[in-house]
Symmetry: C2
DNA sequence: CTCCTTTAATTGCGGACACAACTATTGTAG
DNA sequence: CTACAATAGTTGTGTCCGCAATTAAAGGAG
């Protein structure tokens, strides 16, 4: 166990780090024509996948790895844009739901095909099926690993 | 090509995105005892690898994918901490060099082993040699791909 | 040499986010 | 029932960073 990375590790690590920052910027750029950024898009996706197209603020924050305040302000923007609305819970008055509006759903259906193409073009481009599966194996394990060490 | 991701792509993509955000937070956390964050650490590494342990601001900004203003302020912090100093170029008076100080070099030698251990523990944990090589192949290609499409 | 363009760095401004403090509501121990 | 603890969300404050404007210097065309 050396105190430094092996050449192979270094190659993987450096290219990974480099790719991540460039990739995120590129995806964000591809979403810009729709007036969305990555964070907004993720909110819309999560809401669209939820029952009744709505989620409690705290659950949404957790899913997006956002702090409560971060989510509050992100939602402010989406609410101002009419894509999401805040709905008070009738059963628990502490709770606010973030709910997808029809405009939000429309926006997502507009943006999704481009976003998917963008992910294919930036991320999966040139990967074989085997590599994609391998990547899934690696990062699922990493995700679980990271979740366990929290 | 469908407008949606295949199950295999989705698995890879979701776990990748999830891992990235958690991973970065974990690495940052591991560096905190040294009073550094990821960005600071990256600056120190780049400078330590450079000739004379110094780089022009613009080259450093480019290497780190930071905007000029972003680098200026990041350096402000490191300069205040005594880890880096600004050195004017004698040949081109527009240019400022960011130069590693002895204290900066010391800090890096202190932090590096922990950081490497952190990368091994968070990122490479449980990966086979083959997977590491495969990961290098995939992300080197992605990096080149992304650089080409800019 | 003079003017114009390009390059390097900084500063003003605004956006996004985390932490901590606060309010409001709910759950729970006694 | 009352008091305390836990939970949900918002707001104040500070940090990090990008964009646009600015300053300063170097390079190039005529």
């Amino acid at each position: 166990m050396a105190t430094w990375l092996t050449a192979s590790e270094m190659r993987a690590w450096r290219s990974f780090i480099e790719s991540v920052s460039t990739l995120m910027a590129a995806l964000e750029n591809d979403l810009a024509p729709f007036g969305l950024n990555n964070g907004d898009y993720e909110v819309l996706v999560r809401l669209s996948e939820a029952d009744d197209q709505r989620l409690r603020m705290c659950d949404l924050a957790c899913a997006l790895h956002l702090s409560p305040s971060g989510l509050t302000r992100r939602l402010d923007g989406l609410v101002k844009g009419g894509l999401v609305e805040r709905v008070a819970s009738p059963t628990d008055r502490r709770v606010m739901y973030a709910a997808l509006t029809p405009a939000g759903r429309t926006k997502l259906t507009e943006a999704a095909p481009d976003h998917v193409a963008s992910v294919r073009n930036r991320f999966f481009k040139g990967m074989t099926k085997d590599q994609i599966r391998e990547l899934g194996d690696i990062f699922e394990k990493m995700r679980d690993n990271l979740a366990a060490s929290t």
